[in-house]
């Protein structure tokens, strides 16, 4: 049991996310057990790879209901990369996969033209004041690596946008739920700041 739980469904960036949070001085554990996730003060939902595979794994591990419960109970939840994409209604990656439908909207492929995946540091332009970007200059660079992006139907959920061929929502939020397309654990000091802001908001003290 821990203040912060990272949902473990075998995602590749688990360790990096864990390292970043440990580095900041928080108590954190990696778990796929409902009781650990549900008792944590804040939950991080990491992810790399394909959304379709992720959904299948979440279903197999019985984590779909857990995530829904976190959201309906208004528990602080931070989604990262695929952890953002699966919050949407569905993804076009691999044809079509239904996702968690926590945020209405579709996940689509980045248009051809520029290189895919979108890989590297790009500017995140904030659309409104939000706890996630507290103290972070508007237009700061964060590290992205993805080929798909989510498009929320409700534009008021967009916290920040990034340009890559098109302008897409690089961060979304609603209440205690926040999710980012970039990888804060790979984005140097500003990335660590995003984690810090999230945990501060959730009222979690460092060890």
């Amino acid at each position: 049991m821990s203040d912060i739980a990272i949902i473990d469904y075998g995602a590749g960036n688990l360790r990096s996310v864990n390292n970043a949070i440990v580095r900041l001085g928080y108590q954190v554990e990696i778990s796929n057990q409902a009781e650990d996730i549900l008792q944590a003060k804040a939950v991080v939902f990491p992810g790399v790879g394909a959304a379709g595979d992720t959904m299948a794994t979440l279903k197999n591990l019985g984590l779909v209901q857990v995530i829904h419960r976190l959201v309906t109970e208004g528990r602080p939840l931070l989604g990262i990369c695929i952890g953002l994409q699966v919050l949407y209604s569905g993804t076009e990656e691999g044809g079509w996969y239904d996702c968690l439908d926590i945020i209405k909207g579709k996940v689509k492929k980045l248009p051809a033209g520029p290189k895919v995946p979108h890989m590297g540091w790009n500017q995140v332009k904030t659309k409104k004041a939000h706890f996630l970007f507290e103290g972070i200059p508007d237009g700061s660079n964060f590290y992205f690596v993805h080929s798909y992006y989510g498009e929320p139907e409700d534009k008021t959920l967009v916290l920040a946008e990034t340009e890559y061929g098109i302008t897409f929502a690089s961060a979304v939020g609603r209440g205690n739920l926040a999710a980012v397309q970039f990888h804060p654990e790979r984005s140097g000091d500003l990335g660590l700041q995003v984690y810090d802001n999230f945990f501060n908001f959730a009222g979690i003290k460092k060890k």
Binding site: R15, S16, R23, V116, P117, G120, G188
Partner: protein, 258 residues
């Protein structure tokens, strides 16, 4: 818009950086983790470690280096050198690497690329390629070389452009193109090679081999159409700092991260 990436790369042998680095401070110039931290502070966008340890019993040392680096530095890390199996890749990724780079092993068994991509995702798999101009070819052609260690390696008898395309089809998410002709010369990258590959594949291309001054990096990114540049000696010997280099590039209109 997406910035161009400047990536220092280090050769690591037995857990120590080969050819060291000229530090102006007290830091241990031979410790890859110290160097990683230094370059991160200097503004490196990513890091690459090549494990040039010859013997397999020293491989666990590299895993330790990667673990320690991952605990300290929070920018993407790519590790390459001697990775031959999916298990090798898995160990590196588990230790904290974000991407793994495969070269000779992929030429010998291309399925390794798709096996890795399937298990870990395309974005984790970098194809490293050493290419050399075919003397007298017109139009110019390049062939792929393998086992490019101390003895220069030998031709795999494959066309470099074709190999790049095939690797991407198999699932490589990024290609690092190293020009054997240019490597170590400090006379610039092989721009035609870079451009030819960049125009042939839809994944990011990283220029490697030949940087002597910031202008070389500029050319690689513009004329060479590379998405990122790897540089070793230009940074290691303190000739140019990453910051100076980025300032130069920015002044010339290249989007870079500060």
């Amino acid at each position: 818009m997406l910035t161009k990436r400047i990536i220092p790369c280090l050769d690591v042998k037995g857990g120590r950086v080969v050819k060291g680095v000229k530090f102006k401070s007290h830091r241990d110039a031979g410790d890859p983790v110290e160097l990683a931290a230094f370059y991160n502070e200097e503004g490196a966008d990513e890091l690459v470690f090549y494990d040039i340890t010859a013997s397999s019993d020293e491989r666990p040392i590299m895993l330790e280096v990667v673990k320690r680096t991952a605990n300290k530095v929070f920018i993407p890390l790519t590790v390459g050198g001697g990775l031959r199996t999916v298990e090798d890749m898995h160990r590196m990724l588990e230790a904290g690497a974000d991407k793994v780079s495969i070269n000779t092993a992929a030429v010998l068994r291309p399925e390794l690329i798709s096996e890795g991509a399937k298990r870990f995702g395309n974005q984790c798999i970098v194809l490293g390629m050493d290419a050399r101009r075919v003397a007298g070819s017109d139009p110019v052609r390049w062939e792929v070389f393998t086992h490019t260690g101390a003895d220069g390696g030998h031709s795999a008898g494959i066309d470099a452009i074709k190999w790049a395309c095939r690797a991407v089809d198999l699932g490589a998410g990024e290609i690092v193109v190293n020009s054997i002709d240019a490597d170590g010369t400090k006379a610039g990258y092989d721009l035609e090679l870079l451009r030819s590959i960049s125009e042939s594949v839809t994944v990011p291309v990283v220029a490697s081999g030949g940087a002597g001054k910031p202008e070389d990096l500029y050319q690689a990114l513009v004329a060479g159409k590379a998405d990122a540049v790897l540089a070793a000696s230009i940074f290691h010997f303190g000739t140019y700092s990453i910051r100076e280099t980025k300032e130069y590039l920015s002044q010339k209109g290249i989007p870079v991260r500060f």
